[in-house]
Symmetry: C2
Subunit: 388 residues, 2 copies
């Protein structure tokens, strides 16, 4: 139940990739016929991805990951607009690929403001809009948090931004493929996505950039992707991303209903069965597959180990930082204290999961929590205080 | 015969990738067991790649392409050394991922010197070393040209650089897997390579950076690759790169002998059968699979089209720029004039090719050249002048 870190490829996605590991090996840039199949696959995938988010296919730039798309957006847009102004706003719950890209821009002379979130992990549009200045050239707010699943009020933020003001980028890596995403409805000018977040391949991502929005490339080199992202195109990954996008679009409603049902069953069960547990993130506006908690008197790493010994895969936060073992900046930004933030557990559901999985977690989790709390000095202290 | 742009995966490479598109889908960063297989694969591939180039496995950073490795090296090393000095030297025949990265650093306040090459496309060490200044922080010279195949005297350049002077990086994308490459013998501190240049997968590359050499990452994000290259690891591509490296190391001698034989047969045949043809690049110090020519009175694009109609895939230069249709900066740097440079044709051989292929090219190429020359006003003019 750690689908956000690692989910198996859908069989159809795998099938869509295999020809490009075999008979279709051409280079889309070649002037001879061997490039034709490759070129068709590249442009077909571009249309599939564009269709999923309501963009135009020529506005899609393929990247090697969501991280690359976020870096390209934040750095590329900021650098291209440096003459207009050097102020960036990002939310305080962004993924490190956005947050640290903004920090890199700080070293290049930009000022960065962090927009706060409320206790549900939601950016309050008015609070963000107050930070906008005449020299603000970029605002980047995630579409949905990859750690607590809270869906953000992007359309409201977009509506409140001054006309011809900052470019609005969204890291929609956690959302795209899992909830409806339409760039026009969101009102954004740039959007990042990643295939492995909706049962597509690793090594696949894309940045959608609205026509007319300038962007300095992150990398220099050949003329691929309209000169905006050089390097020989990774066709197996791109073809897989395209297929995953097509399937996500087709199955979105069914998948959302199924995932939300399992998620709510899991949330209700945990909150009911595990004392001192709190749901993190928004109670309603959350990604269908995201069940995230803080369990008091528990250390996230310890609980993952014990769950693992029962055959349950879970995470404590983003896989990109799991081995760093720090309290999550997202939870801290939501006002959760350090002690509670240490007990963060994140279950992310995917098409492979069913109600049996949820029931099994609900059976094992209380045991595991009990066992860990019996060893916790903080918990003993708490019990004594209660008695006293 | 355009293997440098596009070559089929070796069947063993494909087999090595398939498990990571199927049952092994874990995330190497996960704290639970599902990450174990992924982590082993990642570290196994790192050892295979390190072994191919004589480096240590912890010095390998996986990237999504040779282009990314080159960008990371040039920008990352220059930026990390900006306080020591702001002068960079690159050769004038570098791939655009190096050349344009250097130009980007120019916009960031660096000075860039271009080291000239002789008519064989070889950097003359003394000419380069004359450009070194106290504030030179980076020298980047390709190990072997991806356009004309000339192998560069890197060890000589390395030996001539001042101690504790500039970092020496080499773009070895065309060389690694095709000729012996040993970072110690070359005397470099950083080296880029790409899997698809030796029948490994697209979307796979690596930068080797000698321990102790600092590098600012190109991208910000998670803690993958020791914090130097964030983003969920693309395991199928990485596993494929590892396997391709293992095979290249095993088969290098046999492959080199076979490729050089075919190449020499092709070169001899073309020079013998096609009037006004010149070999570009070094006559001896060249990559085993590289047969590159300029054919006078001919336009590269036109010849590729006609060869294609006979079922022959060839290139006019780098696939990364083929659709830009400009005279190659590499050929111009070698002193070839614009007119002759337009007639550039590059055949790159791979394991799929055999003597029959070469014979077929030698049969068709003269016909194709004749046909094009009959339509060429320049050729008519030349013939008249000869008669006159």
């Amino acid at each position: 139940m750690d689908n956000v870190a690692a989910a198996p490829l859908l069989p159809e996605v795998r099938e869509a990739m295999l020809p490009y590991l075999g008979e279709i090996f051409g280079n889309p840039q070649s002037l001879h016929n061997w490039g034709d199949g490759a070129r068709e696959a590249l442009e077909g995938a571009r249309e599939q991805v564009a269709a999923l988010i309501g963009g135009a296919s020529e506005e899609i730039i393929f990247t090697s990951s969501g991280t690359e798309a976020n870096n390209m957006a934040v750095k590329g847009i900021a650098r291209s607009r440096a003459e207009k102004g050097k102020h960036i706003i990002v939310s305080s719950i962004e993924h490190f690929s956005v947050l640290n890209s903004a920090r890199t821009m700080q070293r290049e002379g930009f000022e960065v403001s962090l927009a706060p979130v409320d206790s549900t992990g939601t950016v309050v549009p008015d609070d963000l809009l107050k930070l906008v200045r005449p020299d603000t050239v970029l605002v980047s707010v995630t579409q949905a948090s990859s750690e607590v699943g809270t869906i953000q009020p992007l359309a409201e933020i977009a509506a409140g931004l001054p006309k011809d003001g900052p470019v609005l980028h969204t890291d929609a890596v956690a959302g795209v493929g899992n909830i409806p995403v339409d760039v026009k409805k969101l009102g954004v000018q740039a959007l990042s996505l990643a295939g492995n977040q909706f049962n597509g391949p690793r090594g696949s991502g894309a940045l959608w950039v609205k026509r007319g929005v300038r962007l300095l490339p992150l990398m220099d080199g050949g003329i691929q992707e309209g000169g905006r992202r050089p390097g020989t195109e990774d066709l197996p990954a791109i073809a897989g991303l395209g297929k995953a996008a097509e399937i996500a679009r087709r199955d979105l409603d069914v998948r959302m209903e199924r995932m939300s049902g399992l998620r709510d069953m899991l949330i209700e069960g945990v909150l009911g069965k595990v004392e001192h547990s709190v749901l993190t993130g928004h109670p309603v506006n959350r990604l269908p597959g995201y069940a995230s908690f803080c369990l008091r008197f528990i250390e996230g790493e310890a609980i993952l180990m014990l769950l693992n010994s029962h055959g349950i895969a879970a995470a404590s936060g983003s896989a990109c930082t799991s081995r760093a073992l720090k309290a999550s900046h997202v939870l801290l930004a939501m006002g959760i204290n350090h002690e509670l933030a240490q007990g963060s557990v994140l279950f992310t559901l995917g098409p492979v999961n069913d109600a049996e999985d949820v029931k099994y977690v609900l059976e094992k989790l209380p045991e595991v929590v009990d066992r860990l709390r019996r060893m916790s000095p903080l918990y003993s202290k708490y019990l004594k205080e209660q008695k006293g």
